[in-house]
Symmetry: C2
Subunit: 117 residues, 2 copies
DNA sequence: CGTCTGCTTCGAAACCTGTCAACCTAGGGG
DNA sequence: CCCCTAGGTTGACAGGTTTCGAAGCAGACG
């Protein structure tokens, strides 16, 4: 288990949403990533990780920021990890999470649309 | 009910995710929008609407594109409408949907991040 | 080598979402 | 004015998701 998923292939990463109809396969892949962002806790977790100095944040620093238990935070981090939005990195005792910048940029590009014609 | 929600206030619309920690209130608002995008059907619906000529698409043109019943498509369109991503416009017999470009651009700006420091 | 802290995983309950069947409302044509 | 088609809404059920408590595993320190 804990097998890393291969999400957002190159052909998918840069398809603008308003340029052409998204194929069903790409839509399922993108929807999985957006679904991972569809939770306030995960959105804040990703924000804290991405805005952290060096782009890395320790779980011991993330957990006390919420009124949730450790396992719950771990679950949300797992969802973000399986969505390809963050990557876990073990540095000694603590586990550090790092945001996947290209993946976020790809999602941003999908939503980036031209002004209404 | 069916009251239009006031989502994504100006202070929220342009906060980059990787620049600073997103407040809980803004996170809930953004998460609601991303949650609406977290379904393949809704993502394709928004794509079809946004990529349609003039940015407007008729329900009678959207429904046959999926293997879903009419009410289900209507429900997904309602979710997109309440998330502020699309706006409904009645033109005679059929209802036309139009994508909310500024809203999509705001979400794109949130995910747009600077390269890792 | 023993123990301790910290993170993950497993299992179960409560909540929410997606889907469909049936009914109601709005506009067009005769 | 009446009937017909097209969309939208409501109610209900199946499935997934979120959350917590308990147990398991990896690494650090004495």
């Amino acid at each position: 288990m804990s097998k890393q998923l291969t999400v957002l292939e190159p052909e998918v990463c840069c398809a603008p949403l308003a340029a052409a109809t998204v194929p069903a396969e790409a839509a399922a892949d993108l929807a999985a990533a957006f679904k991972a962002l569809g939770d306030p806790v995960r959105l804040q977790l990703l924000s804290m990780i991405a805005s952290a100095d060096g782009g890395e944040a320790c779980v011991c620093d993330l957990t006390p920021a919420f009124d949730l238990t450790g396992p719950t935070i771990s679950h949300h981090l797992k969802v973000l990890r399986e969505a390809g939005l963050v990557e876990s990195d073990r540095r000694g005792t603590w586990v550090w999470y790092r945001a996947n910048r290209p993946r976020m940029a790809a999602l941003s590009a999908v939503l980036d649309i031209a002004p209404a014609g």
